[in-house]
Symmetry: C2
Subunit: 204 residues, 2 copies
């Protein structure tokens, strides 16, 4: 990676973000160091300070970009509820797991790094967008029920988010049961189906 001809890097800012995500994936969110990220980008330890205020600022940018891709993937998977809200909703759940699996460094920066989302406006916006996608999807689902039986869509979004996050953390990278006989994908799908049946969205 540290192949560079000219004195100027050309795309250092983004290279640092990607190096950071890779480092977090390999060593965990707290273990990443600015120095090592700079080394991976083929640049001196002082160079990142031309693009970021410091370590924390870089970490927040990784999370911000993560939330944007995350929201985009969830939105694409839900596809405005086509062909049916239920199918689309379950597909979105799988997209949640796929994101955590494909972009573990970003996922960890977003949810396990201890950054303060509220303390960074751009980050809060990006995080809010992801939450919005989940709430919209829950709303579309609720519309399939008679008005009197409709659950609050924010609540449904939060339940599904919590279940998905729990599955990722506990079973996505082989935690307690270690050699769990069931994949995290099956675990989330079965859990979501039971939950949605409890809402009356799946008969029988």
């Amino acid at each position: 990676m540290p192949e560079r001809k000219s004195y100027h890097h050309g795309n250092l800012r983004q290279a640092l973000v990607e190096a950071t995500a890779a480092l977090i994936e390999e060593q965990g969110p707290q273990a990443f160091t600015l120095t090592e990220a700079a080394r991976r980008a083929g640049v001196s330890a002082a160079a990142p300070y031309r693009h970021f205020k410091g370590r924390e600022d870089l970490l927040e940018e990784v999370a911000r970009q993560g939330f944007i891709e995350f929201a985009g993937r969830l939105e694409a998977a839900f596809d405005s509820g086509r062909p049916r809200a239920l199918t689309a909703f379950l597909r979105m759940g799988q997209a949640y797991l796929d994101f955590a699996a494909d972009r573990p460094g970003y996922y960890m920066a977003m949810f396990e790094s201890g950054i303060s989302i509220a303390g960074n406006a751009d980050l809060a916006t990006a995080s809010g967008r992801a939450q919005g996608v989940l709430v919209t999807a829950a709303e579309a689902l609720a519309m399939r029920l008679p008005p009197a039986e409709r659950p609050p869509s924010r609540m449904v979004a939060n339940h599904i988010w919590a279940l998905s996050h729990g599955v990722v953390e506990l079973f996505g990278r082989g935690r307690p049961g270690s050699r769990s006989p069931v994949s995290s994908s099956e675990m989330l799908e079965s859990g979501a189906i039971i939950y949605l049946r409890g809402l009356g969205l799946i008969s029988e």
Copy 2:
């Protein structure tokens, strides 16, 4: 805290475990240092090496003790399913949240510190015991259904564990929605009730 009359501490091993849990609670699981734990226990930085192989060993002991208390609390809350399996099960869910709230340092050591449970036999035993309590409770619940409708109890235990963990991580300490209008306790209870209704354990 660092009040000591004699040259010997008397209970240093346990004092270090508790100092570590407090440090993790304050600064996160990766930020704790052996040196600081020793300082809090009122002892030199070299002293912990009389009781632990090193930093990792101490962290694993915190997690181990955490799992033991965790399992004990869940078991006590379930109380063999009295007076009814359903009530007892929901009570156990609240005990899960209470543990995470009362013992955040231990909870983080157990689930967020990146320790390898499989790599430490004592830790694996303690973790297995906690999982056993959840599975036993799920079994008792399943018994209330006709045999043909009984879900695998390990699956149910994992779903509930994942939901509880997700609630703790996302809403227990005010994460994405920050000022979430609903407490994590209500969030878990409503989610669990909908899920159990989906299993056919709650009619209507």
